[in-house]
Symmetry: D2
Subunit: 291 residues, 4 copies
């Protein structure tokens, strides 16, 4: 397929590369051109404006958040104006439910198709084409997107024809990870004060009740207090929990544990820890406990 | 070995049976004698008072909580008075850190050995001898207890020579389960309001990020809102989260997510839901969201 | 003075009337014209568009919130375009810190003066010209506004030359009222469960430690559970606590008690109680306690 | 009247002195005798054991908490054994609802009368006989206590014939003060980050909405960050909020704002601030905000 790809960050770059390797013709756009040039060596064409990436069978956006996607959607050389009638936009960024709803409306008014398809997985999973894809939107678009999803991930979970449902699921999943970090951080502050070795504690938990990858990954980071380099940092974690809370507010769902997590993220940012791995939530907790 | 066993509830009964099957000579005591009689058919001797279970190589207690263990420890026909010097008490109940410390002192003063060895696992795991045993106490006692642990569980995690450390770890683990229920309940209230099918949501979570047994078990209960029969009920869950918070208070660890869980348990009890499965925390959350 | 006045709601109407009574020439604009006509009988001129209220010595806006003020500020016939260079805009609405900052910038770019001057006080205080005015902005504008403030309130508290500081103070004050309702609600749920008469309890509190008008007003509403008619409703209270939290987020201040209040407002809205007096926060609390 | 008085701390000492000045015959007991001797100079008799203070028309206890009162109630030379049938015990300490209930039972079994009569007011109010007395218990005892109350306070609020109701009201009042400190602390962290002068802010609040003595007192302490000497310290504040939460737990009342306060007290204690004035809750808040 001929596909446009906008956003060559930690996630987008390996994803675009996988599309190329799967034999698709990829036209890439990135705000800082240098990253696009690296992909050109692997066979990608370079678009000079977002609009120039809109001429294939589909356009994928993989940006850092609402602001970046709004710029591409409504700014100079924007995709809403450039996509042809019947054109397909697959939005894979983690964005707000509200923006996803606005995009669905805007594309709909122009006779364009819009899928939301955010992903679960870190850059390594992106590179290995092992992402989990959470997709929602019109069935028509979904079947057209299938070959692309195949090149990018290991499994697609679909959530009906309202695109923002996929964004909601994605945000709720990131909330669950942050909440898991919070709770693990509290439990580990408690046992550390009781003289328990935190590594041994994590080992016990992850070989018994909580034998899930996220517990292993974050348990180890918390036990070792190794918050750099950040896989996903406090500022990003805060952004996603805020978006989950914004969606919850709009649909009237009190989420007090999410409020606790939010307050701890704010404390972390207030104390200059925005660049640390979001597992550093546990550092706020430990420091409140005098550790 | 000759072993006394006090407390034949949902957990204690299958545990005592496993000891018999492993060839140990077991003398059982239970407040309501009928349960002891059932085990007598399987070869157990019946003790008329706690003290009468104290004459073997070790005594195991598996009771419902602090109050029951205090009665056995200091009440009529008590074990502290009956255990010989050098006698070994293995306390496997889920009790407070404070009571475990008091028991350690009391046994120590009498020249007796005391291990705390609470377990992770539900009655089915107890029956299958698949419990995880969290044990702490004097090394001497630990090696004497080994053959018994072998008959009861699949793995022993040790936590040093201060018995209450094992209780602390156990309470922290139960807090983590309750907190997981809370967080999952919040996430699921959020996505349900967005029209997402909760079963499908749980399936996605537990095949991706959260592929741990507890997420599967409780995710299913929450999705189906099937809170009876209770595997572990709200009143019990509340008790354990209280004990975790009491330990945290004593060692000065603020645990705000635990406070959220505590408040939701209290709301559940206030509304007469003490007998529901503790996954009914999610019902409180859903009802606050108008679901 | 010649003054424009936009927004003739529960607060704006009596305020505009007081300006007329103090001898000022007032040109009023209101989205629904009928309210403007009532004031015309008292001597006001009617503006057909916001822009038509911009020709005097000053313009006062007293609208329901960000959205309404944005419409007047940047919408059809807007005030930013119509105010002359050197013109003075006194924004008395309760709005976000962020919008106040945007207005300050926009007016500044056009060489116009902007004061933020939100008020403390309910409609009766507005009618009696007993408002407390929280004002911030350029000293120049402040002295020009003085005669108008005199006609509207009993006292002016100034907060420096950055207008949004006044909005921040106003939002913090509304947070304090909401938080007071929350805490009083919790205390009263507790004593009611202990068989204490809530009216008597409020009487005791307000003749001893908490002899402040807000405690009397809201204590009585909570004791009598008389949540209609609403002086200030749940939806409005929620809006202001959200704005306080948004300001706190932007300046990195964790406010966990505010988060509790926010969650209870959301629960109230989820349960269809948006039109009740915001003292109905106490109803959420009571209902969680099974009362 | 002939009255025994046990507990000559910051509150008890001036109270006993007021009784003497009002012409009552007072027999005092204090654990450290030196304080009793000081009162002997003012005319008091000294009791060598609690029991020796039980022979008059009434016995007043004014101790630091549950533990101290339990020692006097059930310990060596205890008052339960020494009070004659029909004897009157007026418990003015701030203690738990549970202990008050136990005392009521214990006195009842012995045919003795028991009133709970905790007070609102700091040592200066005690010295000036300006305390507010919260009293509950049998009407008979209440009328006998009247002359004593008259000598100690400015007003008596009665709460029925169940003594612990008065303790509940007292604990709820202390919770309300702590919660007020929390909320004020959050609001002041917010406005300080916005460049607002905290003293001016407190002045505004306490001349408008919150013109109550507690707001003035604690607002000034928070603005000046002057947490020593402590009028009432963090450790004491924590104790009382814990007792309020224990009563709330027992009667099934979720109090999430109280949980926030509790967590902040624990953080303060963890960081070695137990001796600071309880207004130092605001320091925890400020430090979480990076102030």
């Amino acid at each position: 397929m001929k596909v446009g790809f906008i956003g060559l960050g930690h996630m987008g770059e390996p994803m675009a590369r996988n599309l190329l390797e799967a034999g698709h013709e990829v036209t890439v756009f990135n705000r800082t051109r240098r990253k696009a040039e690296a992909l050109a060596e692997a066979g990608a064409r370079i678009a000079e404006r977002p609009a120039d990436a809109c001429r294939g069978d589909a356009l994928i956006t993989m940006l850092t958040g609402d602001e970046a996607l709004e710029a591409v959607g409504w700014g100079e050389g924007n995709i809403l104006g450039a996509l042809p009638k019947g054109g397909l936009h697959i939005g894979m960024s983690t964005i707000s439910v509200a923006l996803s709803d606005r995009l669905a409306d805007a594309h709909g008014e122009r006779g364009q198709l819009y899928l939301a398809a955010p992903v679960l997985g870190r850059p390594e999973a992106a590179a290995a084409a092992k992402l989990f894809i959470l997709a929602a939107g019109p069935a028509d678009g979904m079947s057209r997107a299938e070959p692309l999803f195949k090149a990018l991930g290991q499994q697609v979970f679909t959530w009906g024809d309202k695109p923002s449902a996929a964004n909601l699921v994605k945000l709720s999943a990131n909330f669950l990870i942050a909440a898991m970090i919070e709770c693990l951080g509290e439990a580990m502050a408690l046992v550390r004060k009781g003289g328990i070795d935190p590594r041994r504690y994590v080992e016990m938990l992850t070989t018994t009740l909580f034998a899930a990858p996220v517990y292993k990954t974050y348990g180890a980071i918390i036990a070792d207090e190794k918050f750099t380099p950040a896989g996903f940092n406090m500022a990003m974690g805060f952004k996603d929990v805020r978006l989950a809370l914004a969606a919850a507010e709009a649909s009237r769902v009190p989420m007090p544990a999410a409020s606790v997590v939010r307050d701890h993220f704010i404390a972390g940012l207030a104390q200059g820890q925005g660049e640390l791995d979001w597992a550093a939530l546990s550092r706020i907790i430990a420091s409140n406990a005098g550790l």
